[in-house]
């Protein structure tokens, strides 16, 4: 059996779920620098779906694609430790300031260049931008169908993929020809843990830039073991139209950003009177805690 060619789209994100009291600045706003950079949670769910296909269909390969700064190579290694076969880091200053459309354009160009895909699996949503737009936009740019809100890729048969979708009010099972884009929900199974053997195998996997910086004794490794080189692509590799990239290629512009100021400690004691309850709900709405 020849298996399938799978691309997993993954983004490195600040852990916005971890904004506990310790990650707050004195003025009550979030200290972003204090947030750890993590593998976007739903992209791990996406990776698990890919790994399950690989378990079932030997010969399947999984390529992890991420666009981001140099340090985003961390999540490619993380993917290799869990069973991905290789990765591409797409990194270039020209991508700075991309909205979802410019991001999707860069990703779609990369995929066109890379070619050779049956299923592209993304997370439903990234926890920083929070838009859930990149998956469907990549699908549109490649001219292939999309199945969003996936909870389980149930079967692949005769060139068609059967997917269970989890929607707000119910469940749908749909069948779609390949190639296609699937975006995966957090309700899908968690990703398996790192594999000790794979950690041994890939712990020195690096991008060219990382190798140059590291200046270590392992350089001979990379010529002996090609799988340790993580592909690093720039605008040059993807034949992109510069007008479609970064800030220039982004129709949406961020006009203004307000930090949500969270209440500092020291409990407010309130009664159950109508006035107090009304005041409380107003405060919570105003601080965007609810609503």
């Amino acid at each position: 059996m020849k298996g399938y060619k799978i691309i997993v789209l993954a983004k490195q994100v600040p852990d916005t779920r971890n904004v506990g009291k310790d990650a707050m600045k004195a003025d009550g706003t979030v200290n972003r620098a204090a947030l750890p950079a993590i593998f976007n949670p739903e992209d791990l769910n996406a990776l698990e779906q890919a790994l399950r296909i690989k378990d079932q269909f030997p010969g399947t390969t999984i390529t992890l694609l991420t666009m981001g700064p140099g340090r985003a190579a961390e999540i490619i290694r993380e993917g290799l430790f869990r069973g991905a076969d290789d990765g591409i880091l797409l990194t270039d200053r020209a991508f700075a300031g991309s909205d979802t459309l410019a991001t999707s354009y860069a990703i779609a160009q990369t995929l066109k260049k890379h070619g050779n895909y049956d299923i592209i699996i993304a997370g439903r949503q990234a926890i920083d931008g929070d838009t859930a737009q990149v998956g469907p936009q990549v699908a549109e740019k490649l001219g292939i169908p999309q199945i969003t809100y996936a909870e389980e890729i149930q079967a692949i048969e005769k060139g068609k993929v059967t997917v269970k979708r989890r929607l707000e009010r119910g469940v749908e099972v749909v069948k779609c020809p390949m190639p296609l884009v699937v975006t995966v929900n957090s309700s899908a199974p968690d990703c398996r843990a790192r594999n000790a053997k794979l950690i041994m195998k890939y712990k020195h996997a690096k991008t060219i830039s990382e190798m140059q910086e590291a200046n270590d004794d392992y350089l001979h490794l990379y010529s002996d073991r090609p799988y340790l080189t993580i592909k690093e692509w720039t605008v040059q590799n993807i034949e992109a139209d510069m007008n479609e990239l970064g800030l220039t290629g982004s129709p949406t512009k961020v006009k203004k950003v307000d930090n949500v100021v969270l209440q500092s400690k020291g409990a407010k004691v309130i009664t159950s009177s109508d006035e107090d309850m009304d005041q409380l709900m107003r405060e919570l709405i105003e601080s965007h805690t609810i609503g």
């Binding site: 979802t100 929070d130 129709p251 961020v254 004691v269």
Partner: protein
């Protein structure tokens, strides 16, 4: 002048709640801009649907009616909306931030190369000065949305590309009929001109309602109950509050042991550890094993009859009183202060 457009979501033959809310908002924006409000309804057996749409002040309703258009699938709905927008050139297009709108919106925006802002909580008309380009844009749509896990609020604009597209969640905008007798025009679309056979490659195998699994770990707001809630029936109040706030219900071990709710909702040392934006502890004393699972919540509200309950020491708001009295008030005043 170019219109404001609303994509009407059809659920079991009915106009979805979120679409009525968007029509209300769309009408207000259209009136402010002195342009028409138009809507597009795509589905099957839509005869008479205009009766539920015109009263919101819709001037033109475009209808695409075909057996293959219901239930919703991505490709044919995208093709119809994209072609129609290319013909009509709306300046603003609104969709629900639902599993339909969030599937359709990005695909349409990509095809039209227009920007899309997700999950807006407020939409306002305003001007914008681009100092670098020395250009002033009048009457842009300010699309205001939380991002970064709700830790920031961004105002997004779309200066050059049209339509300016935005999605909005259900319950964010107010729903209000403009005039029950409002009469608009109907434009029936010839579906074969707007779609191709290739749009129908995705087959629907099965479709049913199913309750989702409990997901307290991923919830931004948790309403948690303890032994002090008193009964399974009283827990319904917590479910109601969680529903209106868009959160989940959690519980202490004592509440789970008493059979008030299932074990998958237990928070604490032997349950799940959570870090929501808001944790509302109802009738929970706050023993160390419970606190271990929730004390990193960004904000904590403690509701307890005992002013000395240990939970109060880690709370941001302490409400001394009876859960059964306080929760209905929270629901009431939340509703009164939104919309």
């Amino acid at each position: 002048m170019n219109s404001v457009f609303v994509y009407i979501e059809i659920e079991d033959g009915q106009v979805a709640e979120v679409s009525m809310e968007l029509l209300t908002k769309g009408r207000a924006l259209a009136t402010e801009l002195k342009v028409k409000l138009e809507a597009i309804a795509i589905g099957y057996k839509l005869d008479g649907i205009e009766k539920d749409i015109f009263p919101y002040g819709v001037d033109i309703l475009h209808i695409a009616d075909d057996k293959r258009l219901a239930p919703y699938t991505t490709l044919p709905h995208t093709s119809i909306v994209v072609k129609l927008f290319q013909e009509e050139k709306p300046q603003i297009a609104l969709m629900g931030a639902s599993s339909v709108g969030r599937d359709l919106g990005p695909r349409v925006s990509s095809a039209l190369h227009s920007g899309l802002t997700a999950d807006c909580t407020s939409l306002v008309i305003g001007d914008h000065e681009d100092k670098k380009a020395d250009k002033v844009y009048e009457n842009l749509l300010y699309q205001i949305r939380p991002a970064f896990g709700g830790n920031i609020i961004a105002t997004i604009i779309n200066p050059d590309c049209r339509p300016q597209m935005a999605t909005v969640r259900e319950g964010v905008m107010k729903k209000e009929i403009l005039d029950p007798a409002y009469k608009g025009k109907i434009n029936k679309l010839d579906v074969s001109k707007y779609t191709t056979d290739l749009d129908f490659v995705v087959e629907m195998i099965e479709r049913h309602m199913e309750k989702s699994k409990v997901n307290i770990k991923g919830a931004g707001i948790i309403v948690a109950g303890g032994y002090g809630v008193g009964s399974k029936e009283n827990f319904n109040l917590l479910f109601e509050l969680a529903e209106v706030l868009g959160g989940e219900v959690g519980a202490s071990r004592a509440a789970v042991d008493s059979g008030y709710v299932s074990h998958d909702r237990q928070i604490g040392q032997t349950g799940t550890t959570v870090r929501p934006k808001l944790y509302i502890a109802c009738g929970i004393s706050g023993q160390i094993q419970h606190r271990a699972g929730m004390e990193e919540s960004a904000q904590i509200i403690a509701i307890n009859t005992d002013p000395e309950a240990p939970i109060n020491s880690i709370a941001d708001y302490v409400i001394t009183g009876d859960v059964a009295e306080i929760l209905p008030k929270m629901i009431k005043f939340y509703k009164a202060n939104t919309k």
